[in-house]
Assembly symmetry: D2
Homo-oligomer: 494 residues x 4
């Protein structure tokens, strides 16, 4: 894949911004969300709905955005627009107007490889035997490199480095009818993914056989909307209908929607990190509200590892709910001990090394008046490499905290993800090679506790009878729902 | 002529954005912050420090930004750059590099008249007898129109419609030495303001005689920084020193800083709305932390007007602290019942009337899973016209709230501000012509309570012996610290 | 193909500009040049040389530009950048720096279908079995639609609507070695084209079997450069070596250049319109300088159709040389009777219909002082639909010309081009359905003459023994060098 | 305050471009034009007319453009927009629509100091006692520094470094009525200038007492247009009426136009370089067409200094007319021996020193096929420092010219201009310290001749009885029409 990193992409290249953007989070070693998809079927102004829907999914991908529409009132014509930047930057009234139609698929993404300049903005658009084909995906195809190799050997040429492209080639190569071809293509691929596939005639919606990546269905009158997260439904005035099921393939065309399957559910395995970190607190996954799940994680954490302190604070934004839960459970007041500048974004200039050493902060500050002279419980969602945690603990200490007790709302993150989350190699994951006490020392905390596996599972809740309540906990317990090996491609297909 | 060659002209006008931006908040009738100023003295990379400092003050003004520098290492040359947009949009590495120097004044602003296209971006830059002159201000000069008229009659010409310009003319017109001229000019003007004035040789820092607008001083080694709010100090690694006092005039030049006065303190009157709504929660004003003051307001509100309910929620972002205080006091759990999309900004396309009617939300949504079937206490900071409150109550009801009890963390807002806050005319302020019960009906709430004047004053605290603890409460109690009348110019000078 | 016209491309979309640009020439019905290609082999700073080379070819395509490089000093890595706009708009120091390498291919193009928004900017970039593949072309593949259909039926998917893409697929599909595959692919396609094909290892340069489109080779020391026109060589300091021959295939790699053929020359047929209109006057094609050929056309025209007049004027820019030739031959003084505003470009706002009726001109004006009261000979290169000629004759009459005699430096343009020039359908070509006298009336001229076929051929000169001296005259005499039919695809592949 | 709300701020700063643009002509030491002005009175869509008018004057200033309008249908409101870049870059449909009104003044300018980043874009806009005031000027005020000093000493503050600003201050400072104030202000200033001054009520048009800078009046129906050059009239469909006379002051308001004088004509002195180099060939100055005057210069030069040669060529664009005149007179054929790339502009990247040494040309190339083996007469308009001439002679020699005979269509340029043309100091003007023979050697020519003073004067023609036919020849004969001294400010006021 390294050959491609130097490829320069041209798509709506917002030159300086793009360059400055690289590494904007590099001093914080957070996991990075992989992508968000949004689909519309049988609704006027589909592109406008997608604009607001994708805007609600913006936290799942800030690097690029794209919308592709089909206009059934006008010969089922395709139109699309993609660009680098936020939804509000990529789209304007002019280009949304051009995107006429009543069906659409849209996408927001991160460039998973931070050092890559390649803009594989989605939806990917192809022209094949039967007309136009667009694909938007969230997740990763574990066996994409093998399939790609095989396709290339038989003469296929690729326009992107995105693994998503293999699904289009598999469909185009098949001599069977489109639905069969799509079904067989889905059966060939292994991984965790949510797919929206659109042709001039049909919209296909599919979730991987374990339901690793979230995908929900909503209704507006006679029309359907599909979204990575339900938070988009409230934004656009849609009514939540149900989660798309593992192995399900929905086919929507002039005859309406048919609910089919391309795979049996083997073992349901929704990504645990969606509950812990990625999803917006106002989203529900499998019927469970994220904010409330996080509050329960905070309460559970308080039960498992109480510590006497003066204040509880959460690392914004993802850990606020859990911190409030912790505070409610313990009676220790929740305070705003850390604050994040909401204006920091892609184009923000990072402080020079010199200024950073002098104390210039980019994005997160401790609130001196709040933490000075206080014993602080600091709630965070996870520890990846440990550098961010150390940094935040030190921010609190520099602002006068007398003790800093770190409480993590998930079990130790030990194993890389192969299903669409951008994680470092195993050897960089601090929990894979350090004990909790060693980590505590390294992040300079007075005490450190992680949530237990069982405590986490219970906090999320849900009525799945399995021990893990239908979640993938591979990053904690190394039990991957599909075959993977250390050499498998981890980079997100989207 | 060579002195001027480094002057940077305006202005990075991001045209389309600006137009689209108008009215981005029009469905929410919030008060609008007036401006923020930031000054640096005797510190290398002054423009970079200003960049991070202004970034921390961004909430005080999102429409334009500007920085002017003096380079004492290079003939005390002036350089400046201003532009429309956020700090991160206006400045880039290239223009910051050009802004060489160890002194600077910077500014962020709102265009107070939403319909105005006029870009009075500050700092304003002038060339007068003694060289270059730059002015950045936060606040309003009540008697600017009269002074301006008088200056124009004697032949002055103005480059902007900004009232701030009068201070420069008053100084230029004086036949006295610069410091005397500045002092006399400050004595001529009436209002609420924080001024940073810079010439090739000197930096002047002044606060109005009542200290209406906040202004704090910090230190980095031998250098000084000045800021509308202390939150910027934590960001840039500065140590808070003290608040600039009412009527104070600080003069900084090659001889260091001299602390002088141009007016006696008559009555201290810090703007109450800074505590309630404008200032960032991690700022301290007069030594009082904003987050903690807001939590106390929430607690006080709970004491004054308890209501039995299932959850407490705050209108983001300003009312979160108070909502947590209310929850802590009452034991009713704080929940995330309302969520704001943090990506919505100036360039965001508002939904068409049609889409809005269909339920498309621009920025704020209720979280169905959290509020459905619940009796909700909704904490907000103020009610201006009442339209926003109605809208939010309805969002909660549509999401299934069975009862909505509105609690406001300030007394009723009845009187317009003449000191730099963009308020509607008195006749549009709902509290000026409606009883609390009438307002309750109009905003469709099950119950409504405002914080009492005394409760508010006590919540803020502080050790000022006055009944109002040194705050201006004119918007609540009509007791203005300076002469004003209904015809006085309300539009902010900055 | 119409399905695709609504497809929206995203490449460096300079939104407003692009829209305004459409139809910028719509009131002038000139033929539109199709594209220009530029290649560099074994020279440091290949991308910079391409920048200046493409700049010299800018007249061949103003809509988009692109450069792809291979860096043999760094693992033969690919890098590329493409964008909408002029060369100077698409490239800057930053992106040229990123385009490291000693080999490159570059491209400038028109969007041939004026109404199309599709940005098939070249070089096209693919990833296939053996690595990266880039293609830049000038011309048209007459049988591309059939080949494309065939490829799609066997499962190929296309990323663009450009016919150029078929060459990449033909190569990728072949099981033979790359050179054989490329040779066989070239043998499959029919049309007029100049190809630059680059892989990580090799650069291929090919001209169609009739040499319809110009392509020249030059040297700088040990390196090679290839260009659509020789004018680029003077610009970059290269020495002209020779024209690439019809049916020739040059292969350049680590072993240097091998000169091979993939087709025998059947009949040489260089595009006549290159001499008449497209090529820059300082270029030489087949050893013949364009300016001098045009002067000879003017002289020949004077011999064939002298008319007594006061001044000779040429329609800028293409007809100036011929007008001077005409003036020299007749002794009638050449004057600047028409002037073109050189600043008019893509982003220029066309006058409204109302302003146009009031006399506002966009681009071309008559010079009243020069033409008033004069009998004018107006030299132009061709008449396509006739609307432009009518317009210019009227400009001269409105400026006071008493007589306007139109002299055209080419035979009547009667037949559409299938080899890369954007021509209307036959039924829109005025000369295909009108006599010379009818055209004269329609364009409101006092007299009208075209250059004879033989006169044109003699003017160009050259030592090819054929009656047409090795030119394609199909647009005049309907004698196409390859099989074509009225349904063949005329739209340029590049 | 509402009057001002429509004012548009500056604007559309094409930052990077501006920086790259600096020095784009630095290898060619041509004189630089100073500015162009365009005014409209009593015509609907005044801003659109200005757009096309300024576009026609673009050659007089490529760095910035601005338009200010007054709408007499809407309370005589002011609106303006200015920006860096070409007219087509600064203005778009949106901002032209905002510039409503039936009166306007517009401006295009060079930044005369190439190293200056200061954007004194005009029209300058002021607000003074009686309302709004806008000023656009072409030329230079010799005594501006003294007046400015005096104004600053009495308390005026300046917003720009432009000398033009003094006229506004002089008017604002006067206690007399506006017309008297303007007249007295014009009487105070010394120099060469064309002024357009607009208030809410009036439009003033003035030329300096010697008519140094050109300014013409035209009509469209009941409306008036004013322009630096008449070429703009043909573009917008206006009829030329007359040249504005030296010392004339036209006052246009609701009562129509009054023709007054503020100064007697002492000695008419139109800038000779307008005829020779600056004006567009399709313009007429004092009734003399520029193209025809230049042809006569070429013919006269042929009479004065014939040389036997094979071809005549002109340095594009300004010397083409003269070269054709020379060719007609001598019978030596005119050929395209030098060609300029018309796409080179502000944003063009100059070749690195290394590439330049290798022969990469930026803008101008010799046409090898045309000049090879030929004795060439090269016609140019002037020699400033001599470096450009040397460069062009060498281009021709490198392309194979056997002899290069340089013929200059003006007398030797020996003395700096104080009236708005950007000239180097006297000591850098080659003709001020070298004999013709020395210059010949320095520019490597086989022969060199300048046009004689009398020959030049006769070529221009005109019916003024004076020896110089009413031209300023100071740059040739050191006879300045106003007092100046070596220390006078040469930098253009506009």
């Amino acid at each position: 894949m390294s050959d491609e990193q130097i490829r320069q992409e041209p798509l709506l290249w917002t030159g300086d911004h793009y360059n400055e953007g690289i590494g904007r989070d590099d001093i914080f070693d957070k996991l990075r969300e992989e992508c968000g998809v949004f689909g519309v079927f049988n609704l006027p102004e589909a592109s406008n709905l997608s604009y607001y829907g994708l805007h609600a999914l913006q936290h799942r991908g800030e690097e690029s955005a794209g919308i592709c529409t089909v206009d059934t009132k006008n010969g089922n014509k395709f139109a699309y627009h993609r660009g680098m930047g936020l939804v509000k930057e990529v789209f304007n009234k002019d280009n949304l107007d051009i995107l006429a139609g009543d069906r659409s698929i849209g996408h927001v993404r991160y460039s998973t490889a931070g050092e890559s300049k390649l803009a594989n903005a989605q939806p990917l658009i192809f022209r094949y035997r039967d007309g136009d084909l667009a694909v938007a995906t969230n997740g990763n195809i574990v066996n994409a490199p093998e399939i790609r190799k095989e396709l290339e050997m038989s003469g296929s040429i690729f326009q992107t480095s995105s693994d998503t492209e293999v699904i289009a080639h598999l469909i185009a190569r098949s001599s069977k009818d489109f639905e069969t071809a799509a079904k067989e293509a889905l059966q060939r691929i292994v991984g965790g993914f949510a797919f929206l596939i659109m042709t001039n005639d049909k919209l296909l919606v599919a979730s991987d056989p374990h339901g690793l990546r979230p995908l929900v269905m909503g209704r507006i009158g006679d029309g359907y909307v599909f979204s990575s997260e339900s938070c988009a439904f409230e934004t656009i005035g849609a009514v939540y209908e149900r989660d798309v099921q593992p192995g399900e393939l929905l086919i929507l065309d002039a005859d309406g929607m048919r609910e089919t399957r391309y795979a049996e559910v083997e073992r349901r395995a929704t990504c645990a990190m969606e509950y812990i970190y990625f999803a917006r607190p106002d989203s529900d996954i499998n019927g469970i509200n994220i904010h409330m799940a996080r509050k329960r994680m905070g309460r559970q954490l308080a039960s498992e590892s109480f510590v006497d302190a003066d204040i509880v604070t959460g690392v914004p934004d993802s850990s606020i709910s859990a911190a409030i839960g912790y505070a409610e459970q313990t009676g220790i007041p929740y305070e705003l001990g850390l604050i994040k500048n909401k204006y920091t974004g892609r184009t923000f200039i990072q402080p020079s090394q010199e200024l950073r050493e002098k104390g210039v902060k980019m994005k997160l500050s401790a609130v001196r008046k709040v933490v000075e002279g206080k014993r602080v419980v600091m709630i965070d969602d996870s520890i990846v490499r440990g550098t961010t945690s150390l940094r935040i603990v030190n921010l609190l200490r520099e602002a006068g905290a007398t003790e800093v007790h770190v409480r993590i709302t998930s079990p130790p993150f030990k194993n890389p993800c192969y299903y669409g989350i951008d994680t470092p190699d195993r050897k960089e994951l601090i929990a894979s090679y350090r004990t909790v006490e060693e980590i505590r020392k390294q992040i300079n905390a007075d005490s450190l506790s992680f949530l237990s596996d069982q405590g986490f599972v219970d906090s999320v809740g849900g009525n799945d009878g399995a021990y893990n309540r239908g979640m993938c906990l591979a990053c904690f317990d190394n039990d991957y729902p599909t075959p993977v090996n250390e050499e498998s491609d981890k980079s997100c297909s989207c």
